[in-house]
Symmetry: C2
Subunit: 367 residues, 2 copies
């Protein structure tokens, strides 16, 4: 569509050269870095994650490191989810909120040590946020961005590939747990994690000079399983009901509206940011909720940069926040952020730039 | 180079349709929005700003609005520059710093009223920062992102064009001052401002549904002066010595290192964020400073996503943070963020991906 103008304001990933060599042809930006989004064969890239194994440059998932005697305290102040039982080597999905209970990121929190945590973030600046809170509260903790860049290996054959590299112990890793190790002298942390429901791992590279080396290790190890390059797959993630912070949320969205209520613990102490607002929202009930929408039309829609109005009975009830062609359902499917009065089964009209389309609301996930 | 994948995580500008119609062909992202960077004729776009008048979609310069009884107090807490004499209708360039004196943005602050300010920001998330500080200090102020999108009109003929639209009063606007007005029912603020040294204005559109209408008003008014579409011009801004936050600064840069010391007032009260650190840095003297570098080679270099090491006498002394071909100097020129021991006139070696190039350090601006 457009070319991205090179600028030192945008940072390449440690895997940049490797992805160029493998033929990356479309990118997006995320946390002021470039992220590959296509190698030119979108459907092939999709089926690879569904049926096989795919490797993704997700270095854009930057780490916000909290280190020091108050690191755990700061983590709990930032996260409205109970972390008291989180063990070293364990990760947890946490909806970060501001003081009004509005979602500002949804990272995986990794506990590396009693005094060291990473927030493996979605696309918003949590360094500034964490730094502001830490300094304003006088906490003894350093907030930094360490040299850590995730490489995802996703799909039903991912475990075989990752086990062939690191050993069979990876098969015993529980979801979101991780272990620090190394491969050919390259320091990494291996986590069972990833932005798909097809299973897989994220290998956190801890030496940015070794991106090509790590990429090639994974690529070579995956040959018997037919590994190939891919990306955080927009189709698979919508089919699986995975939220994109910033894509499916706006500046007013709270966790309850986007199916994250189960990650909020309302009995946390009052010094947790947003907890009072979240208690109030929970008591009153959210005004919007997230459903799926299946469109009636049978031609794949084009991706757009904007949300689309959703109408029901001639009234606007909310927005379709994303829409993709589902290769498994042979339908256009999307997420609907709509008034809680709208229910699965309701018929709606989605106002796309290309024209209005009818559709039906449904529960999530689709598959 | 690459196409940018459409995603609802990235927002289009109110001028998006108009820029498409005018043939935009390259973009970058900035504050999670798309920003046009070329209409296909880079040299023509450059000379238009130097000799004529150019119009730029800079809606990506988002506003962080501070509103409420403590808005002025919050502004002064955030900005290490004395705002006590700032008048309604006046703007000021302010280096925002964190508690360690590290630069986190360099907005124009606009005082709209005693209880309403805008920070017209560069590319980093200052909503989170301002919101965190406001809430943690219990200030009575609302931090929001209003529906405001700047359109720049830059170049020596800009004043003629803007005066023909709004009237001759714009000729009396002092630098960074602004006035709220309207044109054909479209609410705007007109400021003498802009990211070039060729003179010009930024028209802050205050109704996002009127982007195409405003674009066309400016385009039509500019026909006699040969107006055409352009962008924050990388060549002109380097020639003129204008800093790009995030492009020419890193996570350790303080204002003194990048020629912003004159915008820091060290005798501000202690509750100004970063002021103690800035006093210490000023007393000790910064470790790096920003100079120009003129390369010896005579072929235009390609833009890159990375800084380049600078060596002097076989030792690394810092980085070239950006580099462009200067159409007026017929040389490759760049910014050098180097040890303060390095001085104008010193010979250096810049380690580009395409190979090492020799060059000479110089004072800024180039022109």
């Amino acid at each position: 569509m457009f070319s991205i103008s090179p600028s030192t304001r945008l940072r390449p990933s440690p895997f940049y050269e490797a992805t160029l060599a493998d033929g990356v042809c479309a990118m997006t930006t995320y946390n002021q870095m470039l992220m590959p989004t296509s190698y030119g064969h979108p459907e092939e890239e999709y089926w690879r994650i569904i049926n096989g194994v795919s490797m993704w440059d997700v270095a854009v998932e930057r780490q916000v490191q909290l280190m020091g005697p108050d690191a755990g305290r700061l983590a709990q102040i930032l996260a409205p989810r109970d972390l008291s039982k989180c063990k070293i080597g364990q990760g947890k999905y946490v909806p970060l909120c501001n003081h009004n209970g509005v979602l500002i990121n949804d990272p995986i929190l990794l506990k590396l040590d009693e005094d060291r945590y990473w927030l493996s973030i979605a696309d918003s600046n949590i360094w500034f946020w964490a730094e502001a809170i830490a300094r304003e509260r006088g906490l003894k903790v350093e907030v930094s961005e360490p040299d850590v860049s995730p490489l995802a290996v996703q799909g039903p054959k991912a475990e075989t590939v990752v086990a062939s590299i690191f050993g069979d112990w990876v098969r015993d890793l529980k979801y979101f747990w991780f272990r620090e190790t190394e491969i050919d002298g390259i320091p990494v942390a291996v986590a069972r994690s990833g932005w798909s429901k097809q299973g897989g791992f994220e290998i956190y590279l801890m030496d940015g000079t070794k991106g090509t080396a790590l990429w090639n290790i994974v690529k070579e190890a995956g040959q018997p399983q037919g590994i190939g390059p891919g990306n955080p797959n927009w189709c698979e993630r919508v089919e699986s009901g995975l939220v994109s912070y910033g894509g499916d949320s706006d500046g007013q969205t709270n966790p309850f509206e986007v199916r994250m209520g189960k990650y909020v613990d309302l009995d946390l102490p009052d010094d947790t940011i947003g907890i009072e607002a979240l208690r109030r929202i929970a008591a009153e009930g959210p005004k919007r909720h997230q459903l799926g929408v299946v469109l009636d039309n049978s031609e794949p829609v084009k991706a757009e940069f904007t949300w689309n109005d959703i109408d029901m009975d001639g009234m606007r009830i909310g927005d379709m926040t994303t829409c993709v062609w589902s290769y498994r359902m042979n339908k256009n499917i999307g997420f609907a952020l709509v008034a809680t009065s709208a229910r699965p089964g309701d018929r709606v009209v989605v106002r796309r730039a290309a024209g209005a389309v009818e559709g039906t609301l449904c529960d999530l996930p689709f598959l």
